[in-house]
């Protein structure tokens, strides 16, 4: 008797209310790895869209961060599939999804969306942007590093005006192709959640849109963060015009994102479909800290307040204070979007399909699904980015300020 009674007694504290027998012993199968996976893809898409502001919409003030944001997107994209591979348990079989892709499988198609975005958009655009530099650097840099540059030129050393013009044109075309691709890349993640009809927390047509908007927000925040950190490490002064412009875009993007997410909540409340009661419990109890405190307060309201204040007062705030405020908002937004991913991914697994009970979840530390490995994966892109920045953003050439501000002229 003992063995079974034990199970019954142990299983019960993890659940409240009415859950199906097969849900009682189960903890969420999609854990922290699946939380950081949309987070990373979102950062990629956001950083890319931020870079496109320079190329497509010709926002000159952002030019100093163009390359940094492109490299950020690349560094994070290289790690975007890692959480999934770790989660699968048989990472060595991952190629099979590409070998026999099925058109009705979103995961299979994602393989191609990902490959397209990495190879046809990001790498190509970076290549065209850096090509002239590769040629120059390959001539001046000795040793292994020089060899890397030489390989990257692909053997083309043509720097005539005609070919440089062609590079510019190609970059422009690629950016234009890139924006829908970035939307596709991240909209797809929202698509996967949004198409789970049986789960009222996920099955929602607004899901892809909310994912894209939060992606843009987190991506811009990441660029702000990286830019400030990089100038700090290199002991340069921040180009305030560029930073203010980023803060402005961050503010508007966050505003739109907040409005759409509020709309979603209002709509759910008004429609009050059958699962709504349990969703309310989730918001009040299970996700109280991550949703109300993490996502709404820290990730949205406080940054909105700070950035909004900056929009109003602008030059009247001293530069140092402005920098700190923007930096803090960026960091808070990045944290808030991580919380948003948590709320989406975990939230959908905390309640019973009966809509009358909730389960709980205790995070594992080590182990295949533990949060240690998630943290390790999250640490990887910054490391890759450091290498990329070392290789491709030389101190003298990069982070040069836009011409308009004489006081930061010391940078170049």
């Amino acid at each position: 008797m003992n063995e079974v009674t034990n199970i019954v007694v142990e299983a019960l504290p993890q659940v409240q209310g009415y859950v199906y027998p097969n849900e009682a012993g189960l903890h969420p199968v999609w854990s922290t790895l699946i939380v950081i996976y949309p987070y990373i893809t979102g950062l990629v898409a956001g950083a890319f869209i931020m870079a496109s502001l320079v190329r497509v919409f010709n926002v000159k003030a952002l030019a100093p961060v163009y390359r940094l944001s492109m490299l950020t997107a690349l560094a994070f994209l290289l790690c975007a599939t890692l959480p999934l591979l770790c989660h699968l348990g048989h990472p060595e079989r991952c190629y099979e999804i590409m070998m026999t892709p099925h058109m009705t499988s979103p995961m299979a198609i994602f393989g191609f969306v990902y490959a397209w975005y990495l190879m046809a958009v990001l790498l190509l655009e970076l290549w065209f942007d850096f090509r002239q530099d590769f040629v120059k650097w390959s001539k001046t840099t000795p040793g292994f590093q020089g060899l890397i540059y030489r390989v990257l030129t692909l053997g083309v050393t043509d720097l005539s005006e005609k070919s440089v013009r062609l590079d510019m044109k190609m970059e422009w075309i690629l950016s234009i192709v890139g924006i829908p691709s970035a939307f596709l890349l991240h909209g797809y993640v929202g698509f996967i959640f949004g198409s789970i009809k049986a789960n009222p927390w996920w099955g929602n047509v607004l899901m892809p849109i909310m994912f894209i908007l939060s992606a843009i927000v987190s991506g811009i925040a990441l660029c702000v963060f990286n830019y400030i950190v990089l100038t700090w490490i290199r002991r340069k002064t921040v180009d305030m015009r560029c930073l203010d412009t980023m803060a402005m875009f961050l503010f508007y993007a966050l505003l739109v994102d907040a409005v759409v997410e509020t709309l979603d909540v209002l709509h759910r409340g008004f429609a009050a479909e059958e699962g709504f009661a349990v969703l309310q419990t989730m918001i009040r109890e299970k996700l109280f800290y991550t949703l109300n405190i993490g996502q709404v307060l820290v990730g949205t309201l406080l940054p909105l307040l700070m950035l909004g204040l900056l929009q109003l007062l602008r030059r009247r705030v001293p530069e140092a204070a402005r920098r700190t405020m923007i930096f803090c908002s960026g960091a808070m937004i990045m944290f808030g979007v991580l919380m948003m991913r948590w709320n989406v991914v975990m939230g959908g697994q905390f309640f019973s399909k009966s809509f009358r009970g909730v389960m709980s979840y205790k995070m594992e530390f080590a182990g295949q699904e533990g949060w240690l490995i998630s943290v390790a994966i999250l640490c990887l892109p910054p490391i890759i980015l450091t290498v990329l920045v070392k290789l491709f953003l030389s101190e003298s050439e990069h982070l040069k300020p836009s011409e308009h501000l004489p006081e930061t002229g010391a940078n170049s």
Binding site: M1, V4, V19, S163
Partner: protein
């Protein structure tokens, strides 16, 4: 028309990538893939060739026909022997290997009250029921009878 040099290189690189994908696909797609559907045709034989682990009720009939007979008379007639006794294929081939000892705990796997269970299944709340040792009052093979 002559392609500009950088475009030409990129076209070559792209062709190399697509080419290696196609070659990889040709080499790595399992030969019987798609024979019947979106899976390896050979998988069917592979699965069919696996040893079944359950023996099935008929296998027990040879030596325990009395129990089969009793079981069929009472409320547990729809249950399979191995549902309570566990996988017994080895035992039915060689009676010296005994199946895992069935204990009373098997009973509450199915009979412990749970709202999610269908109402037609008789349920008890174990701590409110007559006692914890089910087999003292219920014959497992004829649960409505007492020993």
């Amino acid at each position: 028309m002559k392609l500009p040099p950088q475009i030409l290189r990129l076209v070559l690189v792209a062709m190399a990538i697509v080419g290696s994908y196609l070659i990889a696909r040709a080499v790595l797609t399992p030969p019987t893939f798609g024979e019947y559907g979106w899976y390896r045709g050979a998988a069917l034989n592979l699965i069919a060739s696996r040893e079944p682990v359950f023996a099935g009720k008929q296998a027990c009939d040879e030596c325990h026909s009395d129990i089969l007979h009793n079981l069929a008379k009472d409320a547990h007639k729809t249950l399979s022997c191995e549902g309570c006794h566990g996988v017994s294929r080895e035992h039915s081939n060689n009676p010296d290997i005994l199946p895992v000892k069935a204990t009373g705990s098997h009973c509450i796997r199915c009979h412990e009250a749970n709202l999610a269970r269908p109402v037609w299944l008789k349920q008890i709340i174990v701590k409110d029921h007559y006692g914890p040792k089910c087999t003292e009052c219920h014959l497992p093979h004829q649960p409505t009878k007492s020993p």
